[in-house]
Symmetry: C2
Subunit: 358 residues, 2 copies
């Protein structure tokens, strides 16, 4: 059979360093992968004048899966928005129709001390946020700046955006969420702001409708402000959360930070056929780029997620995840998760250790 | 001089019980207040068929200040949205032009144990969120349900809302925030999502523009997802946050929950002339209503905020706040903040203790 083709998009900051380690881990497996590398984000702009160069988008479309590092660097902060590194990730999501974002927030027992929350509140945390990724106010038209057409400030300059969700859009993310919940704790929490927003009212209605097809999953609803509180108060009471693009952006980052070890958290962004883009939940950390100290584990675990969700190689994914657990159990730590009594290592040593543990 | 008139709006759930205690505290001061009580929320609907009855709105407009309990109860959950208790609070904000919401998140040293965060992360926390309250996607038109006019799901049923901010609207909340920051740590963090939203781009531009009038206040910007993370990671690094209605809803609740003692937190919603509505940051807690166990301190501290911001009685406000600190120091606790070694009291006993400590 033909080799599996992976688009390797390192991006900016620590992206290249950590993606390198993930590549080494993939190469250490029994399967053969065809990896093709391309510039994205600030690196795309620097080399080709655009954060998502045409060649990169073409590669991403052709490939069986995309392994993405991170984008963003101080030096691109002054560019106009359409040229800034983040546009690459928004463009990939939209063009590849990656509507389902899975963001696990898992606290590894060895790293419980890294959390700012009390151990009893977070130890054993294993939460999954299912975020809709191609709709909502992120892409809704119309949007822009104009003279206010009506209201108390008619005639004044205003900025505006449109939050929108169509029924089939809500329905398909609902199915992903219910199917995921079914395989886990059989509980699903849908987060919205139905007491204020029309979009949320439709969201809630469709969630309830789809729930009829999953009688073994218990659905409940939470307003987004309350969800933000419950994440802080008792995160272990939550299991799978499904929410829109905007609320998911905020809640998934809050949830990741509860663990104190965001350097460990991978994420997947999937299309209808389970083709996907895989990336760490953390950013490009330009302040520590090039120093060889970044934690490559979220990137390595993103590769494992890729094998499981898009490439049908669950066993190989298991091997990687077990290897990561082993290096943690062996006491190896990069700086971001270092604690007294453990061994501090760099990016490459951490990658070496995972390869050795495979 | 004519008596100060206060609109007392108890609302639902524990609202009546806690507002009673605040009334007793106000009556124990040297000033004389004319307090007029009216139904609001579910109670408004039950008595007059609307959550914000005409008479209540009229009273709120006439009064010098509004002391508000809380609204919402399970029994109103099935009402259509326009009749639900929350509409009262949205209606009061809009009708009275209460655009500036001040939400302190303060951790009283005696209550550090109540937080789910580690003591070193939150002890001494004293954060203020300035939330714009009458604009944004909460009130933006157009909104509703329709057949999608364009896009990938053209023709499908969709829900939509409009996020909008006009320049003068941003400008006036910016001034409130800068003035507040100037009196505190001289640092202001503006939270937006300018990497995605047009509304946020204008927000950021105006914040920067207004900052020129406050050269002694250091302004910085944070994306809302990052702000949610920083609240969990290192809340004490933040001082005053200013943000829009939607992001403020989420972040202020998250910030309140960091303290673990939301039963202690008051809030103010002010108009251009510092007339305001004052309410606890917590909700109506219908599950414990009528049991005499609710914590009245957030409501009592809301009365203190009212004296300070709207009624120009800073000394009286100080007296109340000192009295509250004294009862805490004396070890009195309602159930929500109870810890071993302290004395558990009910709503009325707590009110008694504050009156005695005045
Ligand atoms: C970079 C930004 C546009 C993006 C988002 O808001 O979706 C990021 O925060 C994320 O969550 O992946
Ligand atoms: C009740 C609801 C409409 C309200 C809001 O979202 O503003 C509440 O959550 C608040 O923060 O005061």
């Amino acid at each position: 059979r033909k080799d599996v083709k992976i688009a390797m998009l390192p991006g900016d900051g620590i992206g290249p360093e950590i993606l390198n380690e993930a590549a080494r881990v993939l190469n250490a497996l029994d399967e053969k992968f065809e990896m093709e590398w391309a510039d994205v984000g600030g690196a795309g702009y620097a080399a080709h004048g655009h954060p998502l160069p045409e060649g990169t988008l073409k590669l991403a479309k052709e490939a069986d899966a995309i392994l993405f590092g991170a984008v963003g660097d101080f030096k691109y902060d002054t560019l106009e928005r359409s040229l800034r590194p983040e546009q690459a990730i928004l463009g990939l999501r939209k063009n590849l129709k990656l509507f389902a974002n899975l963001r696990p927030a898992i606290l590894y027992p060895e790293l419980a001390g890294a959390s700012t929350l009390k151990p009893e509140v977070v130890s054993g945390l294993d939460l999954l946020i299912v975020r809709e990724l191609t709709g909502d106010i992120y892409f809704g038209q119309p949007r822009g700046h104009r003279s206010a057409p009506d209201g108390a400030f008619e005639g004044a300059r205003e900025g505006f955006d449109t939050m929108r969700y169509a029924e089939p859009e809500i329905r398909r993310i609902a199915h992903i969420a219910f199917q995921t919940a079914k395989k886990r704790g059989k509980r699903l929490t849908s987060v919205d702001k139905a007491n204020v927003l029309e979009t949320s009212q439709l969201w809630r209605e469709i969630m309830i409708d789809v729930s009829r097809e999953y009688p073994d999953v218990k659905l409940d609803h939470m307003y987004v402000d309350n969800a933000a509180m419950q994440l802080v108060r008792a995160p272990k009471e939550l299991d799978v959360i499904v929410t829109g693009n905007m609320f998911g952006d905020i809640l998934s980052d809050a949830a990741a930070m509860l663990t104190g070890s965001i350097g460990m958290l991978p994420s997947a962004s999937l299309d209808e056929d389970n083709k996907g883009l895989y990336e760490p939940s953390h950013g490009s950390a330009p302040d520590i780029a090039g120093k060889g100290i970044a934690n490559p584990l979220a990137q390595i675990l993103s590769a494992a997620m890729m094998l499981r969700y898009s490439l049908n190689m669950g066993e190989q994914a298991d091997r990687i995840e077990k290897a990561v657990k082993k290096v943690l159990a062996d006491g190896l730590r990069t700086g971001d998760i270092y604690e007294e009594g453990t061994k501090r290592v760099g990016t490459k040593e951490m990658g070496d250790a995972v390869v050795a543990a495979l």
